[in-house]
């Protein structure tokens, strides 16, 4: 069944991918092992002797779940190996996949491929002119994504060992996590839109299962459901885009679509614009952009490592990956691209404002993620594909670090609160304060990540964010391929100027809310409680080591891509230069070809001093502003601290009431219409006619006993007679 046809096209020698399929298969294997363990574990074993290991106790360690009073429940069959085996298998398979990915990476570095390497396994959907292969495609972009997914993924798996080991659903958790890695790798390695869609919806399933991991809390299960349904709206867009592509180009594989599109579709035409807009609808669902961002903050109901892996570092960036992967199409549709950029910028500032006033530490990070994803979309929408991917990468480092750090904080808080049976919220920053004394490693690593996200040089986020904002200013000056397009009559240069301004303010807000989060969590006096305070302590090495690794990446990751010609940034060029630009060049060469063919040579970008100075001022200034305006010493615990009273604060704290608005405008009406369909049409009109007809028959005596038990035989007789009559009737004709 398996047929390998590997193409290896290299400029400097040939490149044969090494065990490419195993990168994908290993996590699947891990899923199967952990899944079997999970089911075996949960199968009821013999009643344990002695005091039952109460689920409540185990639950409390899980961190995010609010340990309520659990029902009595038969204890699961808990053996040491049900904990040790997942601890070895789950991170093990991801690490192994990472190792294989690294081997391939070294191979690719040497070969300087111009074309993707495609491995075909079997013909998946061969119907008429449609040919979809189960095939994987390795190129510089999917390689980079694979390294991020397996590398950051492995770290988060290790962290999870410490974070989740005491949870009664531990093997199940690890099974889901492995399954997620599998689907995520299918998403980025798939060689066609349908194969990518397999991963696309697969990660959605894992996200659904992991958000609702602590399914006994209805809020968690609700959040999972919401994520799935909102994502499906986006998925419908993805499907429509595929239909449009197949109808117009006759193919759905990446290489063929990108080869056929420039000749087969009109530049800036309706079809390519529609394809891109529908693809972006899919991206907006997966990557939580306006108007489909609403599921991501709720997704924080899942365990915190899940938030780090799925809802920050990898899955939510799939939309950005989709746009960059389809860069040929998006470059051909400049108007659609401007829409992408504009929505990205608006999402960036919108989510950042909400992040200003949240008390829940994970909610702050959730809105921050939405906002940072907005930055990435702004970049790719302006044609700055590498900048988008660059930020995707640095964001994976620092946001994973921040989420895991918040996990370590919540973990410590839970232990402390649990020790004294304090029901206070372990995620509310009002209950924290002064934690740097108790959690020095967490504080240091989160501090570095905060400097990175705020854009303080020379941390990673500075370089990637500056490149995005710089791209907006350059685009406003006319160097972007989208500059000549218009959006609703507004010239592209003006749109990009607006985006530049918006992103600058969003960057300022980012630095501010991150400073606020750090201040309230780690500085000032401790508000957890006198007794609880003594139980606050740092977690073990399984949790601190990943934090340190991610903090290191957050600190130095930006050096990967230093544009020598940009003022100040160029100081950090240690000979590597714009390595990422160079690395990704083959991937976006097709879009540059489109630009050359349709717009000619674009003008050379001129890098001015002021944007970079502004960026630094904003990054540092935002943090200092938070320090100056906010006073952690005056904050009181959640129960005591008064709620927000001023109108702007309430608007932001309540997230502009967008959830309530959607509920009133979409959820309620759909429900009401559904009820009307059922009660009025189905039961009322259609059944009314049918039952009326039946009663007429009854009236003529042919039909008896709808409800009457004794009428049964009559009905049988009637049926048999009709049946026999019908058959015999045909004979006699």
């Amino acid at each position: 069944m398996l047929q390998h046809t590997t193409e290896a096209v290299g400029a400097h020698g040939t490149f044969h991918p090494f065990l490419l399929g195993w990168i994908v298969l290993l996590p699947l294997l891990g899923f199967l092992i952990n899944g079997v363990l999970a089911l075996m574990w949960w199968r009821r074993g013999p009643a344990p002797a002695g005091p039952e290991p109460s689920e409540q106790e185990a639950h409390a360690h899980g961190g995010d779940a609010h340990p309520g009073v659990e029902e009595q429940h038969p204890a699961p069959l808990d053996k040491p190996w049900t904990r040790t085996l997942p601890s070895l298998v789950a991170p093990g398979v991801v690490l192994a996949a990472f190792a294989i990915a690294l081997v391939n990476f070294w191979g690719m570095l040497g070969a300087e491929l111009h074309e993707p390497v495609i491995e075909r396994y079997w013909s998946w959907m061969p119907v008429g002119s449609l040919q979809v292969d189960a095939a994987l495609q390795l190129d510089q972009l999917s390689m980079l994504m694979t390294l991020i997914i397996t590398g950051v993924g492995a770290l988060i798996h290790v962290f999870s060992v410490g974070y989740m080991r005491e949870d009664p659903g531990y093997p199940r958790y690890m099974a889901y996590l492995n399954l997620f890695i599998f689907f995520m790798l299918v998403l980025v390695l798939g060689a066609s839109y349908p194969v990518m869609f397999v991963g696309w919806e697969g990660v959605g399933l894992c996200s659904y299962l992991l958000i609702g991991f602590w399914f006994k809390e209805q809020a968690n299960a609700d959040a999972g459901k919401k994520a799935f349904i909102v994502n499906r709206i986006g998925d419908a867009g993805f499907l429509i885009a595929m239909m449009l592509m197949f109808a117009n180009l006759g193919t759905l594989s990446f290489s063929e679509v990108f080869a056929a599109a420039p000749g087969g579709l009109a530049y800036g035409g309706v079809v390519v614009t529609a394809v891109c807009l529908f693809l972006f609808l899919g991206a907006a669902g997966k990557s939580a952009q306006i108007p489909l961002y609403i599921w991501l903050p709720d997704a924080m109901a899942g365990p915190t490592p899940v938030s780090a892996l799925i809802h920050a570092a990898t899955m939510v960036t799939a939309g950005v990956y989709l746009v960059v992967r389809s860069s040929v199409l998006f470059t051909m549709a400049p108007t659609a691209s401007l829409v992408v950029a504009l929505i990205g910028a608006l999402t960036a500032i919108f989510a950042a404002t909400i992040g200003l006033k949240q008390w829940d530490i994970k909610k702050v990070l959730a809105y921050s993620t939405v906002s940072q994803l907005g930055f990435m979309f702004a970049a790719v929408g302006m044609g700055a594909y590498v900048a988008g991917v660059f930020h995707l990468m640095t964001h994976a480092f620092f946001k994973a670090c921040l989420f895991l750090g918040s996990g370590a904080v919540i973990y410590a808080m839970h232990h402390a609160l649990h020790a004294t049976h304090n029901p206070a919220d372990a995620q509310d920053m009002r209950n924290m304060g002064g934690l740097k004394r108790y959690l020095p490693v967490t504080f240091a690593t989160m501090g570095i990540a905060t400097l990175a996200i705020a854009g303080v040089p020379p941390f990673a986020g500075f370089f990637s964010k500056d490149e995005i904002i710089g791209a907006a200013w350059l685009g406003a000056g006319g160097t972007s391929p989208m500059a000549q397009a218009t959006l609703l009559g507004i010239p592209g240069t003006a749109v990009m100027g607006f985006i530049g301004g918006t992103l600058t303010i969003a960057a300022l807000l980012t630095a501010f809310y991150m400073g606020r989060m750090m201040l309230y969590t780690f500085f000032g006096p401790n508000r957890t409680g006198a007794e609880e305070e003594r139980h606050l302590h740092e977690a073990g090495p399984t949790m601190t080591v990943p934090l340190v690794a991610l903090a290191t990446l957050s600190a130095v990751g930006g050096f990967l891509n230093v544009e020598h010609e940009v003022p100040i940034v160029g100081w950090f060029d240690f000979g590597q230069g714009a390595a990422l630009h160079h690395w990704l060049h083959p991937v976006i060469a097709g879009s540059e070809e489109v630009v050359r063919a349709n717009l000619g040579e674009l003008m050379e970008p001129h890098h001015a001093w002021w944007p970079i100075v502004l960026a630094i001022v904003i990054g540092v200034g935002g943090l200092l502003l938070a320090r100056a305006l906010l006073n952690p010493d005056a904050l009181r615990p959640a129960g005591v601290e008064p709620d927000y009273t001023s109108a702007p604060e309430r608007v932001l704290y309540n997230k502009y009431w967008i959830d309530e608005l959607y509920h009133a405008l979409v959820v309620r009406p759909v429900n009401v219409v559904s009820q009307v369909f059922y009660r009025v049409f189905d039961r009322g009109i259609i059944d009314g006619i049918v039952d009326g007809g039946a009663r007429m028959l009854q009236g003529i005596g042919l039909y008896t006993g709808t409800r009457v038990q004794t009428g049964q035989t009559n009905t049988y007789a009637f049926v048999i007679i009709i049946g026999v009559l019908v058959v015999l009737g045909a004979f006699t004709l």
Binding site: L39, H73, L209, F215, K225, L239, I240, M243, V719
Partner: protein
Amino acid sequence: MQELYGSHWILAALLVIPLIGALAAFAAGEANAKRVALAVGIIEFVVSVPLFWTFDAAAVCQQSGLVGPGQIGSLPVPFQNCGDVAWMPDWGIHYRVGLDGISLFMVLLTTLLLPLMVLGSWTYIQQRQRLYYSMLLALTTGVVGVFVALDLFLFYVFWEMVLIPMYFLIGIWGGKERIYAAVKFFLYTAFGSLLMLVAILYLFFQVRALVGTPTFSYFDFIRLPLTGTQQGWLFLAFALAFAVKVPMFPFHTWLPAAHVQAPTAGSVVLAGVLLKMGTYGFLRFALPLFPHAATARTTVTIAMVLGLIGIIYAAMVAAVQPNAKRLVAYTSVAHLGFVVLGIFAFNLQGIQGALLVMIGHGLSTPMLFFLLGMLYERRHSYEVGDFGGLAASMPLFATMLVFAAMASIGLPGTSGFVSEFLVLLGTFQSNPFVALIATAGVIFAAYYMLPMVQRTIFNRLDRRENHAIADLNSREMAILVPLVILILWIGVYPRPFLDRMEPAATALVEGLQNTRLAPDPARVANVGVPPMPELP
């Protein structure tokens, strides 16, 4: 092996084994009826399975038909396992059977579900077991017969034969309102069937009038020249019978009633194969017999609109059902709406996608009904409100329910995605706007299915009686695992299925496309059969 499986004896065996089994089960007595039925079911399945490998998509076999004026002879037709035995020769009625890429999978689906249904009834059915298992087996004969018959009279006999055991399955072993449901089921379908009978007889007299020879052969009927008006009326009669069976809006209200009342196996066979008799009827009869009427703009518009209504409307109605079985019943209407779209797209992606939906839905929906039946056996309720948190007490059940739900909403990797994706691609090429609206069905699928899943297995385990509830046992797993494997197989590697159905689908598509281009309504889509000889 190849020789046996190339002959019509294998089809005869598939028809006769359940009938003999029905008698044997009846004779075996109350205690042993289910064991006999299980043995018969397994034999039936095992006998049928090699067909999958021996099936030769390019095969042609000989069937009796008109080869000259007034002259019945041997006619090459694109079928295999052809059987042709005179039954009532004076009326031209033969036992004509055969298999092609369209019927092959329907037959296999039926024989697969039979042993699973027996297992699913193992402890569920406590009363009148002899009669029950006899009915189940007799029903199987009828269904297989519908899918293999190539003689319109024979087809009609089997079509009606299905109705009676099904009526009893609902009427005797059903829930509280079983009689209402059974009668509703019967009235709806009998109404449709009678119209079809009239149409069949009309065709018969037409042929006889034309050539002087009585015949009910499918291959004579499809070569019969008919005017546009004739085609229109006849198509309407056939289409009504099939539309009720599918069921298409607005003829669908018998289905939720029947499903809610039917015992598990009744729901399984109903959703699994009985509904497909309707869509099979379109593919086998209504389209090839009356291609001009079928491809007329009005027909296509009506079919597409009804299919769309089915997809959207049924999904919305499903979402507000507190009764899980009724909910799943409505999802069937939505899925079959996709089949209708695919069929009336008149292209390969559409029709092969539709066939694949028929198979995939025949796996995922029975799986859901089996699961709900297992729950019912434990708690005697289908109301989602009676459950919650079952993932804690029944992890295996929860895993299976999530899997079945995901298969039903068409998650990639399951059969549901491949099939609905193909239908959407096919529909988009013939009518983009219909496909755009149908895509909303993808959203609605999550909208109706996930709340049911959540309220059953997630949330708080707050009812005492759900605490001690036993998880699935090995018998129940034996029912579900084959379905899981097949759903994944079709989702990951559907090619063996697509390859086998391709030639039949291609012939149908080409015939219909040619007809659509031809101005003369008398032209027929002769599905690979030589044209009718010059008639006197």
